[in-house]
Subunit: 434 residues, 4 copies
């Protein structure tokens, strides 16, 4: 088995140590030769801190892996085997601005949903496509593991517009999987099938010992025991009738759609108090980097688990290994629909449970959704597809067509003002709109 | 040609004189023998005023038609040829309560849209089904011309659950047709094809002299000349990019979806000022009935045109005549979809341009909608179908599934409270929920 | 109303006098100025005979119309208002060859079905496209009324590959309409709705006086009274259970699919006896032209009605008038599907009952077909679309993919041999295959 | 792990020793306690021979398994864990009669295709449903592994009409899998994905080392190296353009559809020579049972591999073990579609590559078929569904609707005669038709 060159785009992220840990834990499965860290000028300092921590971690693990840090993305991509994309266009300040603009116009402010998700997509997709196009030349056979948000739209943009083998990842289904494991008494001997769009998925069945335990798990959640929620989502209790009625388990992000008013109130409270999620995270990041700087530290610090994105990197390493070793295990990834979810376009990205092979994910077939849920999925996919188009073309009418579909976004004069505010605020990264 | 028995359910409506006028104007086409007016106890007095006015109008026209007024619906329906349904369940007070409850919870308050439309459907559908079931026995071959709101859902409920030949009517496409006539210089020599759901339609093409004048009409509307809006909708200007981008003309009610925030602000202003639309109409109605009482009056008074529902009755009479005389003219009606709009269920009601024959409406085929518009139509139809089911079963979870889909309704704890408030307020007419 | 220039492509056809008669009968509706007859060198003599007959007929009718005969198609098309296409690529000899080749390989031999239909399409489509492309330059606003066979495929090829407004015509639904009129006692006061593909249509409903008379008509046909069959199809009796079971009236050509074996035996009998249909027609044509030559003849001779194509020209004139005068009557034509028949592509041609307007045909919506019938329609449409593609590209594999779907064509080595025989026999007119 | 009761319905089959061998080879995985053999009176003697051979085989393997032979199916089913259904309704004589009747009427005669497949389904489905209904009472949680032909239709009938967990098996994909293994140099380290209907499947992709080897395998087959054909299908060479053009590998049975004429000629030759396949098999069976009788024989004899059904039982044992041990390997089975193949009904049976779990098969998603192939699949599924309905109801018109769709069956008077001949010949087992 030849040795691997792994590239991390956006390596200055505070999550990177988790990724390093994941690679160290899989030494036997993933024979790492070189690790290339890439970031932009603004992230140079953070990347240096991370790279040094990574070197200490690898050394402690007794591994002989060369760690490169560079601002020259093309150098890094050349001949890569796996590329992990985890950059954040505009950094945390852009996230905070998304949150604040949306709230200012009376709408939910969140990094992947509603107006904020739209803005994030418009900033991110052009860069993601640039990377994928470089890969077409420099490492055409490499796998792109994307966990840059909004992960579904970014993955779809790459799959539609380039020839790169991209798989989108999210920690939401990982957390659901771990939560269900807990509720089923610790055994991981079950198949949870999820389906939907990124941050808009539903657990459809939980198969164990020849039975579907979905109703049991729903009962547990209703009973107040809900370990399926990531840290970055404000804790909520699902109304019993919602879970009973849906007969599916909606992912935590679906609270933005099924509990709109509660979330909005909570966000307003936070914005007027401790700060928006982005602001809280920014402070937390600052603390984390102080810890990372410590030259004695040679392992992933406990404190990292306070971030919402836990398990992201875990999932990425597991996916890398599953592909590399043709493991044929079931993971939940963003991949080309190809009919897995009927009623959505074949060539869009969906987040579905898939058998992971050396040739990539083979989605499990998804039984028909109830019509009302399908209608929401279709609506959201139309929003996503128009958003991708707007991100690329900068066409304001396309942007309007996207936004007016989104249940978290109001319409009318206010929307026009909000859109202009978003474009103005993101002048540089939404240059297509100018 | 045998002479006709026509029944008006909800005859105490202030619109009835328009209907009488329409029948008088079509004496040659519609050989009326008996006119039966039906209302409930609460409407007895108004019905009496109307019946007397009708008698004066018919006499003045030199027509020998017997006018019956009764609270006994079964007597009226027996042997009927055409039944016009125009009752309002709970009268104007229910409409006002719908508006006020919605606004209280921060949502748009309107008689056929959003929370108010839901409440109205829940009150109305059980009564409409009762009437249709009586017709199955007493006049199984009669045509039911429904303009009771929400006209689309009421028509669908009847078509799905009874064997009665029902056609739903609305004045919105009539007003669009008249508006386009004006914009095209007064000539009515064109075919405007509309398609969608009741209060959610789009003009898809305007064919005249072998050309599609849609773009010309859109340009006129953008230029500030918009005669397509009924009186009961607050005047608005469509943003140019919306009309240009859609390349269809949305009906005036689509402002509730495309200009949500503006409408909400306007409604709040009205509610705090002159009163809600229902309150304004109630005052207007009072004045109208004072006029109707005048024993000298023997024609439809001019003042009636101040109501938003103008042309309703005109359309009803024209439809009655088109069926009766196999006219094969094109009208815009609510009828069984049967594939006319692809992507909606075959057995749902849609509002589409149809050739009117003695066997009822034959819808013109509708070209595929752009995907994003289709997604909204599908969403709204799911809302409608779940609302109909909730209206019949009183199942709260079904009600939630309906409401959570509607773009004019928020979700979460607030929605649960709003739903309970609606049920409480409509205790008697939403008895299925108790 | 400006005066019209009408062009007839393939004017040397024996049917042309019927077309002339139709135009004469509609003088008030269709103010004809010039009539241009076009044919190829091989048809020059026949065209001259026809043109002279036409001049005598017009003179007798007292009409001042200039009749031009030319081999220069471009001159004829310049500034045309209506173009009637009725040419037969390869003339009757090609038809006879189609019949004989198919029979030689044990398959049904017919001009629009099976192997013969395929060959005919391959000869005809390139020429039809050439004509339509000339029209794009010389008379871009003219209507092309196509009754060149196979009319559905030819119309689809033009609609997909050019911008010309083409409508395909067939006498089969005209004959059905006339047959039903007879069965309903002579009254034409009904709406027969047909839907399907050219030579593959079904009558779906027969509306009269508010009732569907379909079952009554079916009963009449079963009782042995079947006036719905054109002359060029061997007389057959539908098994009662077929009509009862389908609850639709299949057009006469569907006998090729539902009564394959009987037709094949009959064809073999004819081929060994009086000759194939093409051979019989060729003799009949010879007689007709002898009659046409008679300088005393100034009207359409009775003998023409012995041909199977009666009413073709009648339908063409009626369609021309319906468009020209925005008549909004219902006719049965080949036009763009646009969703009229669900389950077939939007951009294919279907044969459906349509309201004829100045802007062309507006198809009536078609209720869902029973699944088994839909499957046949879809199969045949795939055959047609692949045939069109093969006709244009000359790709043998595409040809195989088309042929292997067709229920009248066998598969295997025999098919390969038959395909090569067809290509060889039509060397000149199927040049794309060489 | 509790010990298992396995039931074999139709145990007198000559294939049973392969099943016994399969169970013996999996002793570690499948802890067999009791083996129940069931047959009807006509098969009593054969069953006795098989049971004794089984006892010798089990004894030689040192296994303590009780072998029961009975005509009392209910006794056998009580408390069963796995039920293998391999009965043949009407035995080989019925198969021979199917072949001969079809040939007599000029059609292909085969046990699962065309007229023979129809007859076989009509005989078999009522019995299969009877068994499944008994299971609903006597062993409701047992798995039914069906390899009774026509396996797809039988499985669909059970899945639609009973609550039994049924999986349909076929050796065709097993043989394809083994053939591809050979072509890929012996390595089984690939995933071949198949999809379609039973005896109507296509290999869609062959994934190995991150690449799709489909084109390589196609090239090998074209080069004359085709190990994918079972013994019971006459050897044929696929025309190169078919495989190249389809870009899928059709299963061997698709020769009946793509090479109709060649197969028919071959069958006629055989019927006039060595006998039909059924007649050949009958003779072979006779020999096999002579061998089985040998009291010295204690293993599956080599001679059994001359039958076409080799690997059936191998597949059955592997499936039993995969379910029992939650193996999550990919096998090719007949199961509920649920959207796996878009364009086919959700509730029909399809033959697709699936991950086998303790909860049964989870189909892999299938990418959209090319439209022309999809049309054939849809046609065949309609044929299957109407055949199932006819088998249950005995409705002749339903039978006609089924048969007229099938590309291997002609239509017309001949079909009516053939259908009556089939019904007459199968008087007892097609009692619903009388």
């Amino acid at each position: 088995m030849s040795e691997l060159k792994v590239v991390i785009i956006g390596a200055g992220s505070s999550y990177t140590p988790e990724l390093i840990e994941g690679l160290i834990n899989r030494t036997a499965e993933l024979p790492l030769r070189e690790l290339w860290m890439v970031d932009i000028e603004d992230g140079r300092e953070k990347m240096a801190i991370i790279a040094n921590l990574a070197r200490r971690m690898l050394k402690k693990a007794g591994l002989d892996v060369s760690v490169h840090e560079t601002l020259d993305r093309r150098a890094a991509l050349t001949g890569a085997d796996y590329v992990c994309s985890q950059f954040r266009a505009g950094c945390l300040d852009a996230r905070i601005s998304d949150e604040r603009i949306a709230l200012k116009f009376g709408m939910i402010g969140q990094e992947t949903n509603g107006l904020g998700g739209f803005a994030n997509a418009c900033r991110t997709i052009p860069i993601a496509l640039e990377i994928a196009r470089e890969m077409e030349t420099l490492c055409p056979d490499a796998w792109l593991l994307n966990f840059t948000n909004p992960s579904g739209m970014v993955t779809e943009a790459i799959l539609r517009h380039t020839t790169i083998k991209a798989v989108g990842l999210c920690n939401v289904p990982v957390i659901m999987q771990k939560g269900v494991t807990k509720l089923l008494g610790g055994s991981s001997d079950f198949i949870m099938q999820v389906a939907g769009l990124n941050h808009f998925i539903f657990a459809r069945q939980i198969l164990q010992n020849g039975m579907d335990k979905l109703d049991d798990v729903i009962d547990e959640i209703i009973a107040g025991n809900d370990p399926l929620v990531p840290r970055n989502i404000p804790p909520f209790t699902w109304p019993a009738h919602v879970l009973k009625g849906l007969r599916m388990i909606p992912c935590a992000y679906l609270r933005y759609y099924y509990m709109k008013d509660d979330i909005l109130k909570q966000e307003i409270g936070e914005a007027n108090g401790e700060g928006t999620r982005g602001e809280v995270v920014k402070a937390l990041e600052h603390e984390l980097f102080e810890i990372y700087k410590n030259p004695e530290l040679a392992e992933k610090p406990q404190a990292l688990e306070g971030r919402g994105g836990q398990y992201y990197s875990e999932a990425a390493c597991e996916l890398m290994s599953a592909i590399h070793n043709d493991k044929r295990i079931i993971m939940h990834v963003n991949t080309r629909n190809n009919g897995a979810i009927n009623g959505l376009p074949d060539d869009c990205a969906v987040e579905v449970s898939s058998v992971i092979t050396r040739s990539g994910p083979l989605p499990l077939n998804v039984a028909a959704f109830p019509e009302d849920t399908l209608r929401l999925l279709q609506l959201m996919k139309s929003f996503e597809q128009l958003t991708i188009e707007a991100a690329i073309t900068g066409n304001r009418h396309t942007a309007w067509r996207a936004l007016v579909l989104n249940p978290l976004i109001t319409s009318g004069t206010l929307l026009e003002q909000a859109l202009e505010a978003v474009i103005e605020e993101n002048k540089e990264l939404m240059s297509a709109f100018h």
